[in-house]
């Protein structure tokens, strides 16, 4: 009899509006034979009280929900046929002698009409049942799941809005105490968590963030321990003379990205000096023409960008990426440009897609366009993604060197600096060394040493310099 296939008895849907029902009485007990459509149990919902017919003929092998309990529609109430444990063979049919008293007791209790039998009573009276551990008994997992789920196993469902807020704020939902069903983190939970000064995600453990401001109380505790300290709340009020302002989402994003980049790539910077005489001359000539004809200013940056794209063609790894265990190279260059926002409170890196297909005019126009729209906050999300190499240009303020941070997951970033007139040793017509006044620009290449070796970076910079120093107008 235990070989018949198991059929589940579930709490029926008594009309759409009914979501749960209470078992008022089992009309059959475990081990008893039942016919299809024979009344098996009585339930009570907020709409109707009714008998539930058996969905199949067979032995009532297992009762999972006891009288008096209220469960949601669709909950498995019992099993007809099959083995009691729900899988093939584990246990034989429940020992009849054991269940009989239970049945008797249950019936007696309900017959007494008092409080109806408590689930405990019935449970206790079922000696065969207490340790159904061996197999996937339908009840066991259901019961252990809520118990063990806390926030620990990280398995609880993250809703779309919680996922979005978490990523916007760089928060790990696993750190948030959930108040939703089964400990789920709700939107309110995560918003409250952030409001109360969420520790900025897990990687914030090391020295950097801990150092800047926080209360002296915590600093001493910090030195050796690696990371469990990080989540300690730091929502401390401002000290006298200090002012606090909330971080914008952009600032949080920058903070997270910078930290992550330094944690990911092995940053090394090489620098080279470039004699920009030729570029200056060409630019002087083209500027009038471009401005008159196209309203576009051919900036030094666009010359450098144009030459960089050309040079990258021979250095695919510098335009590449480490993706897992693979090295990615591509036959195009999506060139990112670091753009400072007008209010000085942020930085965005719009991307000039397929820069390899643009001449100097195209690059100049493209850079001007995305930079303007970046400042006007009119970029589309698509325009700040997909970069393969980035140029940052802090030279506008006269700086002559820097070590920028790579925009992940790219392999390198080029820094361009101020063009400065400097005394420069050159050879005159007769091959004699003389000092000339030349416009010099420093370029730095900060690269991920995991992928790009120093020699490769050096050759790249050399070739780039060569292009800028020797190319004539037609090259742009």
């Amino acid at each position: 009899m235990a070989t018949e296939t198991a059929v589940d008895v579930v709490m029926p849907q008594m009309g759409v509006s009914v979501s749960e029902g209470t078992i008022t009485k089992w009309l059959k007990q475990e081990g008893e034979q039942v016919e299809a459509d024979e009344s098996l149990l009585e339930i009570s919902t907020d709409k109707v009280d009714t008998e539930v017919p058996s969905p199949a003929s067979g032995t009532l092998t297992q009762i999972l929900v006891q009288e008096g309990e209220t469960v949601e529609v669709g909950t498995k109430l019992a099993q007809i046929g099959g083995a009691p444990a729900g899988n093939g063979q584990a246990q034989p049919a429940p020992p009849e002698p054991a269940t009989a008293p239970a049945a008797a007791e249950a019936e007696a209790a309900s017959g007494a009409e008092g409080e109806t039998p408590t689930a405990a009573q019935v449970e206790e009276a079922r000696p065969a049942e207490p340790e159904p551990e061996p197999g996937p008994t339908p009840v066991a997992p259901a019961e252990t799941a809520p118990a063990g789920d806390g926030a620990t196993d990280g398995k609880s469902f993250v809703s779309p809005v919680v996922a979005r807020i978490a990523s916007e704020h760089g928060v790990d939902p696993g750190q948030v105490q959930g108040t939703g069903r089964g400990g789920r983190v709700t939107k309110k939970d995560i918003l409250t968590f952030i409001e109360q000064g969420a520790p900025a995600a897990a990687p914030a453990a090391p020295e950097a963030p801990a150092a800047p401001a926080p209360p002296p109380a915590e600093a001493p505790a910090a030195p050796p321990p690696p990371k469990p300290v990080a989540p300690a709340p730091q929502p401390v009020a401002a000290e006298p003379g200090e002012q606090m302002e909330p971080m914008t989402a952009m600032r949080r994003g920058i903070a997270e990205h910078m930290r992550r980049s330094l944690d990911t790539s092995a940053h090394v910077t090489s620098a080279i000096e470039v004699d920009m005489s030729k570029v200056v001359a060409i630019r002087k000539k083209l500027k009038k023409e471009y401005e008159a004809a196209y309203g576009v200013n051919p900036t030094y940056l666009s010359f450098v960008a144009r030459a960089t794209v050309e040079t990258l063609r021979e250095y695919p790894w510098i335009n590449g990426e480490i993706r897992g265990e693979q090295i990615v190279t591509r036959n195009y260059v999506n060139l990112g440009f670091a753009v400072e926002l007008a209010d000085g409170k942020g930085l965005i890196v719009p991307v000039l897609k397929h820069a390899e297909g643009l001449n100097l005019l195209g690059v100049a126009r493209g850079v001007a366009d995305i930079a303007q729209r970046a400042r006007d906050k009119k970029l589309t999300p698509d325009e700040v993604q997909g970069g393969t190499f980035t140029i940052t240009n802090p030279g506008g303020y006269g700086t002559f060197h820097g070590t920028p941070v790579i925009s992940q997951p790219q392999a390198a970033i080029l820094g361009t600096y101020a063009v400065v007139k400097r005394p420069w040793v050159i050879q005159d017509d007769r091959g004699e060394d003389v000092i000339a006044i030349r416009p010099i620009m420093n370029l730095t290449l900060t690269y991920d040493h995991r992928l790009v070796d120093g020699a490769l970076a050096g050759r790249f910079l050399r070739d780039l310099r060569e292009k800028l120093q020797t190319s004539d107008e037609s090259a742009y």
Partner: protein, 324 residues
Amino acid sequence: MSEKTYLQAISDGLREEMRRDKRVFVIGEDVGVYGGAFKVTLGFQEEFGAWRVIDAPLSETAIVGGCTGAAIMGMRPVAEMQFADFISCAWDQLVTVAAKQRWRAGTPVPITIRLPSGGGFSGGPFHSQNPESSFAHIPGLKVICPATPEDAKGLLASAIQDPNPCLYFEHKHLYRRIKAEVPDERYETPFGKARVHQAGDDLSVITWGAMVYTAEEAAQQLDGDGVSVEILDLRTLVPWDKQAVLESVRKTSKVLVLHEDTHTGGFGGEIAATIAEEAFEDLDAPVKRITAPDTPVPFSPPLEKAFIPQVEDVVAGLRDLSEY
């Protein structure tokens, strides 16, 4: 302003339109001498005469077909279906001819069809339906479902002025049960603008028609739990105010779509799908629907109660969402 029942507001609105525009006429079964099955047009024939308040034969096809022809010739007919359910007889005239005439030939068809709809009084399967979703699916028709006396008057004026065939679903259960202030002057309530019946922060109920009041009562029961419910009354399904719905979703992240129409293919499905498409990343719980089940409307009072979403059903749904 004066306090009026929902029915009075419809009646007054219609009378006002007939007084100001001679192109407007009324046609339907028993709308003239008898004043309409629900007395919306009581006294109309005395005031406007038998040529503007026409008692039609028992033929919805003839009523809608005649209105369509009259509209093409420049009139502004207002037809009454005695019960919304009967409009199925006129399906061909409405869906094949009226809805497509402008697309096909360029001539507008400014007809308004009044459709006493909804259940709650044991009218059984032929006198209780809410067939709005069937027509919301037909391009070329507008679908209007007022919930308040003020909207009933304003939306009727807009429907009569609109150059398209407009289906005006007036809920019978609201006729004499709902009373509220209605402006005395003439006004038009625009289509496609939802009304915030009550503002709230934690849960959104998107609904229309009589269910607005069911939602309101349910929301009151959740007040005690400190759960604040926003109720959005769509007012019109075609066009429907997607922006208002999405805004509410962005605010609360938990949504219950509630309607008295049956489940499968109900307009709630369209709303739920749109939310999933356009506000997925704002959801903190699955979009929930509470609707009538997929059966005809039962006669038996207890069964009809089980059929039409009740306050306690909505309370349970809201609690479930709140606890999610």
